[in-house]
Subunit: 246 residues, 2 copies
């Protein structure tokens, strides 16, 4: 899909110009990073999705030095996190800040959000909930979200390191994009899948415990770095690909 | 090993009575939870370990509502985290607090520390660095710690959920305890080991970026819960074992 078509279809959904641009950049970045499951196919998917208000504005409910609570106000998750990221870059914490984003769904490729924070010089860790799709590896009901975990670390050398891992062997995004089967949305790791399941349950409950309202939410940790470990790691890695490298 | 022998050997290493008790409880809890790699064999291991001062006192260097920085002051990691955990329980954050613990090694079974916070009603997430033992699944130099991630969520129903996962297929603790081979200390997950490797690198760099000094460190997030999601998850799980269940 070309930008012109994508932007036109987003505008037709009711998004303003800035938000349409923000969404297009997210989807297009996913395509370029080889994650088409979070890419252009999300535009027809948004055309079918219900429950968001394209003109809504996220609200900052609690604003302290080390803690913020936001509510989507009905805005779509992608744009809630985009707004929250901008707010952190405009007013970074002296040390660290935990940010809870209520009613925030869908949020897309979490690496996109934390990368922007790292590009702005901040350390970031982000996770989010979504419908429960992961059962215990030995069976039973679906108990946890695919519980992606994204971590980004800035670098004086330019390129941040960006981890962005779903606990599912095949992500729901892959299913949406027709790249995977629903029955393969299981905790990753084969005979050690109990480990990814445990991380998924832990992250799910972390978000659920910090949110005040029922529903999907995101939890973001933002911090000012005190050291610059990435250049030394890249030297040590001697060309081995690090997470998030293009 | 019986408590009497364990405590006597810890006292003989120079630990005071309270600290010897704290260490014994840690090792004995690991035995009882089926993690002997963090259990009694750590006492002979401590008898060989160098670089810690059994009488040292951890220091609180920065103390703000949403952020603390501690330094071990030469104390062994287990006791630094024990002290830090007690400090959080005595004076919990209004919302959330990030705690960076410099020069903190070895730290043992991370689930033990976060479980105490959850038993005291707090949400906790903890990770730590140690010698680099994980290479990229396709080879190359060792780039990341085994990077354990522990998450604990309190429950009004009594039993918290406690995730405690190492990114290694076989942990270094298993090697120390003679339960695994050094060549199996690789990222877990088989053909999807790139995922656990990416988490390990992200967590390693998170800790390294937040610490001011070179060396191993721990990063702890402590927060006051706003919701109580564990009882409903246990009902949904209908008897399926959740992380940390005995």
């Amino acid at each position: 899909m070309q930008a012109e078509e994508g932007l036109a279809r987003l505008r037709a959904l009711g998004f303003g110009e800035v938000d349409a641009q923000e969404l297009w950049e997210h989807f297009d970045a996913a395509e370029k990073r080889g994650k088409p499951s979070h890419g252009h196919p999300r535009i027809p998917w948004l055309e079918e999705l219900e429950g968001y208000d394209p003109s809504a504005e996220p609200k900052l409910l609690v604003d302290e030095e080390g803690f913020q609570r936001w509510d989507s106000g009905g805005a779509i998750g992608y744009l809630v996190l985009a707004r929250v990221v901008r707010a952190q870059l405009e007013r970074p914490p002296a040390h660290a800040r935990l940010v809870v984003c209520e009613q925030t769904f869908p949020t897309g490729m979490l690496g996109h959000h934390v990368r922007r924070l790292a590009d702005g010089g901040l350390v970031a860790l982000l996770t989010t909930t979504s419908p429960r799709r992961l059962a215990h590896p030995s069976g039973g009901p679906k108990l946890a979200s695919t519980s992606p975990l994204a971590i980004a670390i800035p670098s004086s050398g330019g390129d941040p390191v960006v981890t962005d891992v779903s606990m599912a062997a095949v992500t729901w995004g892959d299913v949406v994009a027709g790249l995977g089967k629903e029955e393969d949305v299981v905790p990753f790791g084969g005979e050690q899948a109990h480990k990814s399941f445990a991380i998924a349950v832990g992250l799910q409950l972390l978000v659920d415990a910090l949110a005040q309202e029922e529903g999907h939410a995101s939890v973001l940790l933002v911090a000012r770095p005190e050291s610059d470990p990435v250049p030394a790691l890249r030297t040590l890695a001697a060309g081995v690909r690090l997470p998030g490298d293009g």
